[in-house]
């Protein structure tokens, strides 16, 4: 067919030489109120047919904007500038709205970041998948249904005919994501822009979607994959571009970037990923706040341990570390030493000076820790992992175990689900937790983890079963809140979303102070204030935050405040419900480190809930695996990881993405 875009339609496939997509010097700014937001700065990359380029970087680094610019939907009050922006030989910058429309969906597909809301809830899945076919008139009216079914089947949606008639909300997250991908590829585009296609999904589902993308790529689809998670892209990307502050700070072949990160940010990012191999080792490299960079400086300067004056005022020129591996840094790490091991910090930079916490604080150690990923590059695959992995220096392997602190027996709790039927959220759950011990709980969404936590916290009464805490009845069996109240302070919680757990009107001081107030250390306002300051210090926050309100804190700071509050009453048990899943990897790493430190120092027991095995692996002593409200497996953490007994556990383990694996695979090539 002859379309409006020369070179895109009509021409023989691959008839145009050169890469499918060329982005050169892309610059996007937004006008927000009176301010200009420079979202994307001088970004350049190219993508070949059938190739997969992954863009990684933390929240707000400009990944999505880049993707949307490539499909002409930058949106808002944006200004897009580029030296070159071409797709299959067509200059995208010159396209009119009408010609853009012919490209969208037909030649370039976009899978939006938020899969769960990217399908129109009022239209059937089939209608959405059919939309590109209808808009581009690619199928006759009576063929559409068939094509939709085929496409859905292609992306691995079982029973496609029925699914097509359903509405998005009737589909599970994974199916919805597939349907969204189906709608993006239905018209047979040659480039797919996939913006965080797996973020909201359970690990097992995530693995399936990644498989799907891998397959599509094998079928010749070029893929621009966006993620904030290196582990996700590791197994699929040919090349990786790391974005920070709108810039591509490092880019190159996947295995090279993963193995030999040259940019400090990439290094930090890699170091922060908890994997199944980093147990009890320090994840994050603590970096004191530094003065931010000027508008022309390196945006990472504020967080960079290597930053100097030049970094703050001047943007480094693009440099090739290796052929095809570019890095944007005044202080790039050198090429890896021939042994294949690397410690990028030691040779080229002096060790970091003491942070503001002093050497006594949990982060005081200036001892640099090599990125764990690199260290485990040669570690044998998981199944063969020896029972004792090498702990980082100074970390106790074991915490002394004490009495049974928490005794949970036969808990059940039902809720009325949609449709009015009663569903078991928790079904006959029993376990014990000893003083000073960390019990990890994993399971996918809806498996009842939070419900267990709420029952343990005494916020929800079980339908059956009992909870005993330190030997006294705590919940179930007609225990009243009145009886519980005096002991409440001994069990504290750290929630997934710290912001929502703070009264928005309270300052940090009042938030933590409220927890202090009733404690035995009753005293004057001053005493309380001092105690709050000590607590903040304990979690690595300065007293300068006392007067702040939660909204004015960063995510990591908020979680620390939450932890400080939970520690204030000196609890014997800390219940952490997904305390890190809302955080960026690097911050997540800091919090995990902090929790590990605290537990070591204070000997507090923890019930640690996560859907992320890698995270649990990082902190847990023992492990419960939950599914559909039941405990399907439990045991010593290492035992379970080494020899998962239940098929579901095995499935979970197999689905965990491993950046190191792909790196090693790439090397083996």
């Amino acid at each position: 067919m002859t379309g409006p875009v020369g070179g895109v339609d009509g021409g023989p496939v691959g008839g145009v030489d050169g890469p499918l997509l060329v982005v050169d010097g892309l610059d996007v700014t937004f006008q927000v109120g009176g301010e200009r937001v420079h979202a994307v700065r001088d970004v350049s990359f190219a993508l070949d047919r059938g190739e997969c380029l992954a863009i990684v970087g933390e929240s707000g680094s400009g990944k999505s904007v880049t993707a949307r610019t490539l499909i002409g939907l930058t949106g808002g009050r944006s200004t897009v500038r580029a030296r070159r922006l071409s797709f299959d030989g067509t200059d995208l910058t010159a396209l009119t709205e009408a010609r853009w429309r012919a490209v969208r969906g037909r030649h370039i597909g976009l899978v939006l970041q938020d899969a769960l809301v990217s399908l129109d809830p009022l239209r059937t899945v089939g209608a959405e998948v059919a939309e590109p076919l209808r808009v581009h008139r690619l199928a006759a009216r009576d063929e559409v249904a068939g094509r939709v079914r085929d496409t859905l089947a292609d992306v691995g949606v079982p029973d496609p005919a029925r699914r097509a008639r359903q509405y998005p909300h009737q589909l599970s997250g994974g199916l919805r994501q597939r349907a969204l991908i189906a709608s993006a590829v239905a018209a047979g585009p040659r480039l797919l822009l996939a913006d965080e296609p797996t973020t909201a999904l359970d690990v097992t589902v995530q693995a399936q979607v990644l498989d799907l993308l891998r397959r599509l790529r094998q079928e010749g689809l070029a893929l621009l994959l966006i993620s904030h998670d290196l582990a996700v892209v590791a197994g699929i990307a040919d090349r990786i571009a790391v974005m920070y502050g709108g810039l591509i700070v490092e880019g190159g072949p996947a295995e090279q970037v993963l193995r030999d990160p040259r940019h400090p940010y990439t290094q930090a990012l890699l170091a922060a990923v908890p994997t199944l191999h980093t147990r009890r080792s320090r994840l994050a490299v603590p970096v004191p706040r530094q003065p931010g960079a000027g508008p022309d400086g390196c945006p990472y300067a504020a967080r960079c341990r290597l930053a100097d004056e030049r970094c703050r005022t001047e943007l480094p020129p693009p440099a090739e570390a290796d052929p095809g591996h570019s890095v944007l840094c005044w202080h790039p790490a050198p090429a890896p030493d021939p042994s294949g091991r690397s410690d990028p910090f030691r040779p080229s930079h002096p060790s970091h000076p003491s942070g503001p916490f002093g050497s006594a604080g949990p982060f005081g150690s200036a001892e640099p820790v090599g990125p764990a990923v690199l260290a485990v590059a040669e570690t044998p695959p998981l199944a063969h992992m020896p029972t004792g992995s090498v702990p980082a220096a100074g970390m106790p392997t074991e915490v002394a175990r004490g009495e049974v602190l928490l005794d949970v027996d036969g808990l059940s709790r039902r809720f009325r689900g949609p449709g009015g039927a009663w569903q078991h959220a928790v079904d006959d759950v029993s376990f014990q937790l000893r003083a000073g011990e960390t019990l990890g709980v994993v399971g996918e969404s809806g498996s009842g983890k939070t419900t267990v936590a709420r029952i343990v916290l005494g916020l929800l009464a079980p339908d059956a079963g009992t909870v005993r805490f330190a030997g006294v009845p705590w919940n179930g069996d007609g225990v009243l809140e009145r009886d519980r109240r005096p002991h409440r302070r001994r069990i504290q919680a750290v929630q997934q979303d710290p912001l929502s757990s703070f009264d928005p009107r309270y300052t940090v001081e009042r938030i933590v102070g409220e927890a202090v107030a009733g404690s035995r250390r009753r005293g004057g306002r001053r005493a309380r204030r001092d105690r709050v300051a000590v607590l903040l210090d304990q979690v690595g926050l300065g007293a300068n935050l006392l007067g702040r309100r939660p909204r004015d804190l960063s995510g990591g700071q908020r979680q620390r405040v939450a932890i400080a509050r939970a520690l204030a009453p000196e609890p014997a048990l800390l219940v952490c419900d997904e305390p890190v899943s809302a955080l960026d990897v690097s911050i997540q790493a800091q919090i995990l480190d902090l929790l590990a430190d605290l537990q070591r120092d204070l000997g507090v027991a923890m019930l640690f809930i996560s859907h992320d095995l890698a995270v649990i692996h990082q902190v847990g002593d023992r492990l419960l695996v939950m599914r559909d409200g039941r405990i399907v497996e439990s045991g010593e953490l290492r035992q379970v990881f080494a020899q998962p007994a239940h098929p579901y556990t095995r499935e979970l383990l197999a689905a965990v993405p491993r950046p190191a694996e792909s790196a090693s695979r790439a090397m083996a090539r």
Binding site: F30, V32, G33, S64, G76, Q113, D114, L116, V117, P121, H169, P418, L457, L459, E481, R484, R485, P486, H487, R488, R489, I491, Q492, A493, Q495, D497, P498, L499, S500, S501, F502, D503, P504, R505, E514, A515, G518, R551, R565, P569
Partner: protein
């Protein structure tokens, strides 16, 4: 849709899908949407990833907000110190100069008894604003009691109060106010009571929704986890946080109250003369629209201007507030 009324109606128990940005309320009870009307609907931020900072979320451009705030400030000033703007008394009659047109001596002209319309509008600000404030204050106070009782009460109490709210919400406020006036009789005090009663269920519902949200929030759980008593939790966290959005909405409701008051005055059931009250003046002036337009036009402009200003400022405040309250819903 506004933040408030799209939240799942708790008692209806029919959860809307959590992942949607603007899923409609289900099992809506009578009165759903009244909040929207009061607020005019400030925008909720989109779901994660698209919540772009947009300062101009109000449907009124910023200069409008400034002008509106200035108008309000003026009205408040005038109400506080009418004597500064005019020497005359609002009830001084001067039959010789009755119905004189606007001019140097009388900026807004004079009315049927020769009273200076400007002076009356100025003094009317106090009566009208106080009337509006009293009505909305009563409505909010009643709403807080009703809403908190509904949110905190036991199952039976909850049922009964919800039902009562439903019943009153099923009656149009004007009709409800008329009914109250029919029982109590007309007059300024009764106007206030009538308007308050007509609005109490609206605010009651609002407070209930807010209180339920706060009750389910992480920080109330945290407070409970600290072993605080229920009363302490309610006083420290639930009430202050539930009140915020309600107070913001009350600004807009203030305008509504003024309008209802003038409607009652028009129907001859409002405040009693000779107190200068805008609605009353407007309604007295309507017979002179053809012969002495100034007797009605100026009080009318005062009402419209104040209500617009209050609405604009209230909505702006609400939009500013929206960001604050949004995450309290736990999203």
């Amino acid at each position: 849709m506004t933040n408030i009324d799209t939240r799942t109606d708790i008692d209806a128990g029919t959860g809307s899908s959590p992942e949607t940005g603007g899923s409609p309320e289900t099992g809506s009870s009578p009165g759903a949407g009244i909040d929207t009307v009061l607020t005019g609907g400030a925008r909720r931020p989109g779901p994660r990833g698209w919540s772009v900072p947009r300062p101009g979320v109000v449907s009124v451009p910023r200069p409008g907000v400034v002008v509106a705030a200035a108008v309000l400030a003026l009205a408040a000033f005038v109400a506080a110190a009418p004597g500064l703007l005019t020497d005359a008394a609002p009830t001084d009659i001067d039959p010789v100069h009755a119905l004189a047109g606007p001019g140097a001596g009388h900026w807004f002209g004079t009315d049927q008894l020769g009273r200076d319309v400007f002076t009356r509008v100025v003094y009317g600000a106090r009566t009208s604003l106080l009337l509006g404030l009293a009505a909305i204050g009563l409505a909010v106070a009643g709403g807080v009691v009703l809403g908190l009782a509904t949110a905190l009460g036991g199952r039976g109490m909850k049922r009964i109060l919800t039902w009562l709210t439903d019943v009153t919400l099923a009656l149009p406020p004007v009709l409800l106010a008329l009914l109250v006036v029919a029982v109590l009789g007309a007059g300024t005090a009764n106007t206030v009571i009538a308007i308050a009663i007509a609005l109490i269920p609206v605010y009651g519902r609002l407070v209930r929704t807010e209180a339920m949200l706060v009750l389910r929030s992480g920080y109330v759980e945290a407070a409970v986890g600290l072993g605080l008593r229920r009363g302490v939790v309610v006083a420290r966290h639930v009430l202050p946080n539930a009140l915020g959005p309600v107070l913001v909405l009350a600004t807009v409701g203030f305008g509504t109250a003024l309008m209802y008051a003038s409607a009652l005055s028009f129907l001859g059931l409002g405040s009693s003369p000779p107190s200068p009250e805008w609605g009353l003046m407007l309604s007295e002036g309507r017979d002179f629209l053809q012969t002495a337009w100034w007797t009605g036009v100026f009080p009318g402009a005062a009402i419209t201007g104040t209500v617009i200003a209050v609405t604009v400022v209230g909505r702006y405040a609400q939009a500013r507030f929206a960001g604050r309250v949004d995450w309290r819903a736990g999203r």
